[in-house]
């Protein structure tokens, strides 16, 4: 027989539940108001024709989405964005991991090195891009100057006249700004690994590479997944660097630049919305794949 008293929640539980709800309400309101409601609204509006230059807002179904398949400029934007993502993810992860490993081994002056490392990340993206615009300038830029001084080139190179070079250079600017974030995430993950594990592995005869593969990599898997996801999402949303360095040039144009041009330059708002929805879906899919893959490859039984 169950006594009624046994079914009652312990004293104070209801109070705790209300307290928990009270703490959660601000984030529910903020996320709802700034993320979920605008997202739902954008999804819904992308099914209509919203163009201030045309009367009415008729329902057009998926027409805003299917129109992208035939637009060569948008295809080019996706292609460029894919290249940026690949370059950014590889360079930021390798560079960030290298910087994090280096910093984790430094005993003196680490805080100063860390401060220097995060400096590019602290700069506003536009300022960052303008600095690099001067560096790449064909007439007076630092890059041509250094290469000429080293005797590697005889005359100044117009870097953005080559499509592949232009893509690489824009990606480098983005990587320069975002790599510190990857480094910090991985440094935090590295510092949480107990040193006992390395000492035990050494006693068992494991070398540095084996230690890295068998201890470091699996134990920073969580951080690595976060770093890879943020690299992908930020590269997919690349705008400022490409815009400042080359404007709307088709060679370097990203999907987000295309969103800006469709919505704010050409006033085809619903097309811009549809394109941004697609970008968000691609971001989510790639990030989910990373997280699942990294966990599967590096987790211990």
């Amino acid at each position: 027989m169950i006594h009624f008293e046994q079914m009652k929640p312990p004293p104070g539980t209801r109070h705790d539940a209300w307290l928990g709800l009270g703490f959660a309400i601000p984030i529910i309101v903020i996320m709802g108001g700034l993320v979920f409601v605008p997202l739902a609204s954008t999804l819904w509006d992308s099914l209509f024709r919203i163009d201030p230059m045309r009367p009415g807002t008729p329902f057009v179904g998926l027409q805003n989405y299917t129109g992208f398949l035939t637009d060569p400029a948008i295809r080019q934007g996706w292609y460029n964005t894919a290249i940026y993502v690949v370059l950014a993810v590889i360079l930021e992860t390798v560079g960030g991991l290298g910087a994090a490993l280096l910093l984790s081994r430094i005993k003196y002056g680490r805080r100063w090195l860390l401060a220097a490392l995060v400096l590019p990340w602290c700069l506003p993206p536009v300022v960052n891009a303008i600095v690099w615009l001067w560096t790449y300038n064909p007439s007076y830029g630092l890059l041509n100057g250094v290469l000429r001084a080293m005797g590697l080139i005889n005359e100044n190179i117009v870097w953005f006249n080559s499509r592949s070079t232009a893509l690489l250079l824009v990606a480098v600017v983005h990587v320069w700004r975002m790599m510190p974030l990857t480094a910090i995430i991985l440094l935090a993950a590295l510092q949480s690994i107990p040193q006992d594990l390395y000492e035990a592995a050494k006693l068992d005869g494991a070398g540095p590479i084996k230690c890295f593969r068998m201890i470091t990599l699996p134990l920073i898997a969580g951080g690595l997944a976060i770093a890879l996801s943020q690299s992908t999402v930020f590269a997919l949303n690349l705008f400022d660097e490409a815009w400042v360095l080359a404007g709307s040039s088709l060679d370097t144009r990203t999907v987000i630049i295309q969103v800006y041009m469709s919505a704010f330059q050409n006033l085809h708002f619903s097309q811009g919305m549809a394109l941004s929805v697609l970008t968000m879906i691609v971001s989510l899919i790639i990030s989910a794949l990373y997280v699942m893959r990294v966990y599967r490859e590096t987790s211990y039984d």
């Binding site: 230059m53 300038n137 088709l250």
Partner: protein, 429 residues
């Protein structure tokens, strides 16, 4: 206890002092208070950097109209984006904003600006020839204050050093002069033209299309530049030829029109082909330009013998959702007063839009190369005879993109003009 005479005297003095101080305070405070009351309405104005009023002009606006002035400065592109986002959200970006000639179709179709018909004196409109560029669907939607049109600006000293006696009158003469200047090693790249994927590159091609005696579209907006014997095709072929021959800096694929202006001021180019008419004031100012003594202007070269150019004026408009529409109208009118147009020209390089003011400036000897400017101003025409269409920004972007690709060698002229024509059709759908 009775007070002594001295104390009474002291009291008197104290009272007198306090009274006088109060009176003095009131004397100082009252006008300030009345000014404050008059300036209690503040008109917010959103303009690009080259039109933002200097402090003394802003102060004069307040003292003359009684309205305070909140100057907001943004880049030209950013102003467009701010107007679009604000108007879609049904709020005003400011009480008065810049309205570029190229936005007239978009903003007019969207009905975002207050029609000004009936609010402006007819004599003033008659004195503003570029007002018709800001007329959409028969309604005046903004008042032009910056008389931008294109004119050939060149460095006289470079021509003399190469043994050239007069400014080129045809595109071919221009090309030949550039070749001579380069051959004489006066400078490396005599012709200044932008090829970045920006609006300034597009407008230079439009101008050269007119120089070759043609137009971009027929009256049904069908492209007229695809055929090799068309003016638009020849204009682009001219640009690519000059680039190929090394008469234009190969780095111009990354240069905007404002970068070309900097090169001209530094004496690094001879011809600013798509020169802003108002910029002559800046180029001839020794404090801002290294070629102040050598700058000269000429009518735009032409293959037909008749110089042609088009207007790209800037105007002030009042969004329909503006909070202080009356104060904004006062600002727009104030900008057109002769003394303010003159000061805006001398301080900022904004060429006056009023014909009478231009003539006065020239008569007073304050308009550098005034005769040439007035001659060119007399033949200014709109880029689109039917009025700027709403799809212009999309078309212009397609032009800039194709020009940029052609300049990089990624497209031939044939491919580039075809791509522009396809872009024009897509924009019109």
């Amino acid at each position: 206890m009775q007070s002594t005479k001295k104390e009474q005297g002291n009291d008197m003095n104290r009272r007198q002092f306090l009274t006088a101080a109060s009176a003095l305070g009131a004397t100082i405070a009252l006008p300030a208070f009345s000014k404050q009351a008059a300036a209690s309405t503040t008109v917010s104005v959103l303009l690009p950097p080259w039109s933002t009023l200097p402090k003394d002009m802003a102060g004069r606006f307040t003292s003359q109209t009684g309205f305070g002035l909140d100057n907001q400065t943004l880049g030209w592109d950013d102003i467009h984006a701010k107007i679009v986002t604000s108007m879609v959200a049904k709020t005003a970006p400011a009480d008065a904003t810049e309205v570029d000639w190229s936005w007239v179709g978009q903003f007019g179709t969207a009905q975002w600006y207050e029609p000004l018909d009936g609010k402006i004196d007819a004599a003033l409109i008659a004195d503003l020839p570029t007002a018709k560029i800001f007329t959409f669907d028969g309604k005046l939607m903004a008042l032009p204050y910056n008389n931008d049109f294109r004119i050939l600006i060149y460095n006289r000293a470079h021509l003399q050093q190469a043994g050239i006696k007069e400014a080129p009158k045809t595109p071919q003469e221009l090309l030949d002069a550039a070749r001579k200047i380069k051959a004489a090693k006066v400078i490396d790249y005599p012709i200044g033209l932008p090829f970045s994927a920006t609006e300034g590159s597009s407008t230079a091609w439009y101008l050269l299309t007119k120089a070759f005696g043609g137009d971009l579209f027929d009256d049904k907006f069908e492209p007229l530049f695809v055929s090799p014997d068309s003016a638009g095709y020849k204009a682009m072929a001219f640009q690519m030829q000059a680039l190929k021959e090394g008469l234009i800096d190969p780095a111009s694929t990354g240069l905007k029109d404002v970068d070309i202006q900097e090169l001209f001021k530094a004496g690094k180019i001879t011809f600013d082909i798509a020169g802003w008419a108002g910029n002559i004031a800046v180029y001839s100012d020794a404090s801002k330009s290294k070629v102040a003594k050598d700058v000269a202007a000429a009518l735009m070269p032409s293959t037909t013998g008749k110089s042609r150019t088009f207007g790209l004026p800037g105007a002030v408009g009042i969004p329909v959702s503006a909070k202080n529409a009356d104060a904004a109208l006062a600002f727009a009118k104030w900008m057109l007063q002769p003394e303010n147009q003159i000061e805006s020209y001398l301080a900022l390089g904004n060429l006056p839009t009023r014909t009478s003011v231009l003539e006065k400036l020239n008569a007073d000897g304050k308009l550098y190369e005034g005769d040439k400017l007035l001659q060119q101003a007399a033949v200014v025409e709109p880029l689109f005879a039917q009025g700027t269409p709403g799809w212009y920004p999309q078309f212009s972007s397609a032009v800039a993109t194709a020009l940029n690709q052609a300049a990089k060698g990624q497209l031939t002229v044939d491919q580039a003009v075809q791509q522009i024509a396809d872009g024009a059709k897509a924009a019109q759908q």
